[in-house]
Symmetry: C2
Subunit: 446 residues, 2 copies
């Protein structure tokens, strides 16, 4: 491992943690890490002082900008470490959101999954989950809004793998509009992927992550795919002796078939390179980068308050699987549009068929094979997680606790940014999913 | 020179070209480079395709992102190569600008300096200067606006050394408000600079660039100050054997006295590290980074349409001497505020005394010693160029043709973004300064 690449372990995290998310069924327990209060970046004083003294610095060369507790600061400052592309809000006036704040929500109680804690209030759950920002919309109005940790209302926070759901939504839009045929083989759209395992998958299999390909996440093996992927993705100057792939797209052309003979369509495997393939497909079909299409179709039309941005690789390709950072209320706008079936301010921003397709869910058997205890009975469709619960809820999810949780029955959208110390949503879901359900029931009773 | 640093020649450019600007008195002539039309980045097709084919790529590791003609694309995309910090516009609605377009301006004629061309129209001057965007305000209304090359109305362009005038204006504000005493020695505010040549200069000498210090720009000498400065400024992971200063501020502490015995206050020398010292002073005094203070005091209060941003070094310090990128009309707003004596929309955004101080100009003798033929009789004050011409014009200026040109007599502000192939304003001024004067006279006659 050359020094320049190993230094990029932090970058790796952006992809890695997306990849490893939700693959453990460990019980929710004390993390062994400092609490949310103890690790509050404002208390820690990261990057204060001119210049910050060495012990308060968070820098790229230190390889630690995405390690806990520094990560609690870095999630609000990714652009200060990495090259990025703008997702423009356009030049118009933001569309204000309506408020109907409900001060009863903090006291809503719920029982965490797997019984580690008898009962917990919504308010207690915020720090239990290292929440940085949380917004609840009910019937289109903001009923709850909090900023903690590094986030302010004018800040942007790493969406992590929630990025996938934006990429997936753009793809579903193109499918619904007839611009993208999801039954085609990937190689029919991206001939460069013909030699790769992805070439023989259908676009739909990529969208729903039922592709099969070789992808070792054995961090101890310097030749493991995850390291090749990370090195390719690095936007920094490569070492002189680097001869690996350059950028996400070139990496994708090198991916081999599943070594155990698993075929496309058999099993759901949550693996970020699928989202990069989808980003490539979107760009080839639309003629625009994911950042441009996201701005053109969504961000510049939803009355966003802030530009968003995406990290890029060394050839300027946005990270479609995890690179987005954005403001809390802007994700609330997006979630509400999805809940609205694509309608926003009198305009059909997203075809209703695209959202119906997502809500219809993916292959249940393929998903069951992945064995997510807390998501049993669920599925994955168009890069969204479908819970198949009584309320028909579905979500964008990112490691460290990011979510856009949409409950159509309760007419509720919850957006959460967080910086939970461990990169497993299975550690966070026990004090999150039942909390969302409890707030949904509370709001329905109002 | 280690590989990782030499690869950063492109970054160096950001500082270097600021430093070398306006030090030549060469005649305006054909540049020998492709014309503006030939080098138009839209024609060249830079970074088109998914991924861009190698011959159309502009990447950091190639060291060429800031070389002509690639530079004509890169000036609109600095954030895609470098870590940056946001200069937030806040979350409110932009304040629209009034229009009173005047289609007579294109035909205004002028005689270029030094007689290489007999006569030229304003319209001809745009491509002669590789203009990417130009805005003319007369009595507060937009009378002329063009986007060429890489720039659109929703894009941001590198301001290059115009950044200094923003830094300088912030400093003049703090002086006018009594928060900063410009008669103090730098070391009285920044004790870390006591061992450096800057420690014994006054704040005012830093603001007006009449400091004396060792600063070799001998690019052939790998130990020249310019290389040490560039290496320190790089935001990328340093080579393992790097033992130089980390970041702008640490570099500044290492700067020695002028080797020829020149003392502070004697001569004007246009050298970017002064602006970095000033950024440090501003941050120490205000408790905010330059980005934060610029947002807090200006950007979030002027009805800006877009966020701006600044590049940062490896410890998160914004490049106060050249790191700003912004939208054309937002620089127009700023220029108009300066012309208005600091008043904007009924509010005194900048103390009138701060702007009076700038307009009053700097030390004429110190400036004359620098020998700028096209700026004879001028001066430099608070990081602004004072022409001392009949109209009392003054300007922010950056290499490759950037300017905010303010003509109080004509009640005119001109903002230009450009990507002239050569980093000397002395090559651009002959077809710019007389053109500005001719348009001023035209507008006064309307």
């Amino acid at each position: 491992m050359s020094s320049s690449i190993s230094r990029l372990a932090a970058i790796a995290a952006c992809g890695v943690m997306g990849l490893t998310a939700m693959t453990s069924n460990a019980n929710a327990q004390a993390t062994g890490f400092p609490t949310a209060e103890e690790s509050d970046p404002n208390t820690m004083g990261w990057m204060t002082g001119f210049p910050p003294p060495p012990e308060l610095r968070i820098t790229n060369p230190d390889s630690v900008f995405f390690s806990f507790p520094r990560m609690r600061w870095s999630v609000c400052h990714l652009r200060e470490f990495l090259p990025t592309e703008q997702v423009s809000r356009g030049l118009g006036a933001p569309m204000p959101m309506e408020y109907a704040l409900d001060d009863g929500i903090d006291a809503v109680t719920f029982r965490p999954l797997r019984g580690d804690v008898e009962e917990m209030t919504w308010e207690e759950s915020l720090n239990a989950n290292y929440t940085d920002g949380i917004l609840i919309l009910h019937r289109g109005r903001i009923v709850y809004e909090r900023y903690l940790g590094c986030l302010t209302e004018a800040g942007q926070h790493a969406a992590m793998s929630m990025t996938k759901s934006f990429t997936g939504t753009l793809a579903e839009m193109l499918v619904a509009e007839g611009a993208l045929d999801d039954t085609l083989l990937v190689s029919e759209i991206i001939p460069e992927l013909e030699p790769s395992a992805f070439g023989s998958a259908t676009v739909r299999q990529v969208m729903d992550m039922t592709t099969a390909f070789e992808f070792s996440e054995d961090y101890g093996d310097p030749n493991a795919a995850i390291w090749v992927y990370n090195a390719a993705a690095s936007p920094f100057p490569k070492p002189d002796d680097y001869d690996g792939p350059e950028g996400y797209f070139e990496y994708l052309t090198t991916v081999g078939p599943d070594p155990e003979g698993i075929q496309h369509g058999q099993e759901f495997h949550y693996r970020t390179p699928n989202s990069d393939v989808l980003g490539w497909i979107i760009s080839r079909v639309s003629g625009m980068e994911v950042t441009e299409l996201l701005s053109e179709r969504i961000w510049s039309r939803m009355g966003a308050e802030q530009d968003a941005y995406m990290t890029v690789d060394g050839v300027g390709t946005p990270f479609a699987g995890g690179g987005l950072s954005a403001g809390l209320r802007d994700l609330g706008r997006f979630g509400q549009i999805i809940l609205n079936g694509g309608e926003w301010n009198g305009e059909q921003l997203i075809p209703a068929a695209a959202i119906e397709n997502i809500r219809g869910g993916g292959d249940l058997d393929a998903f069951a094979a992945a064995g997510y205890a807390d998501l049993a009975g669920g599925s994955y469709r168009g890069q969204w997680w479908i819970f198949n619960n009584e309320h028909g809820a579905f979500a964008a999810r990112g490691v460290h606790g990011q979510t856009i949780y949409i409950d159509p029955t309760a007419e509720m959208v919850i957006v959460r940014f967080a910086s939970f110390p461990i990169a497993f949503n299975s550690r966070i879901d026990p004090t999150s999913l039942p909390a969302y359900q409890a707030v949904a029931e509370y709001l329905m009773a109002q």
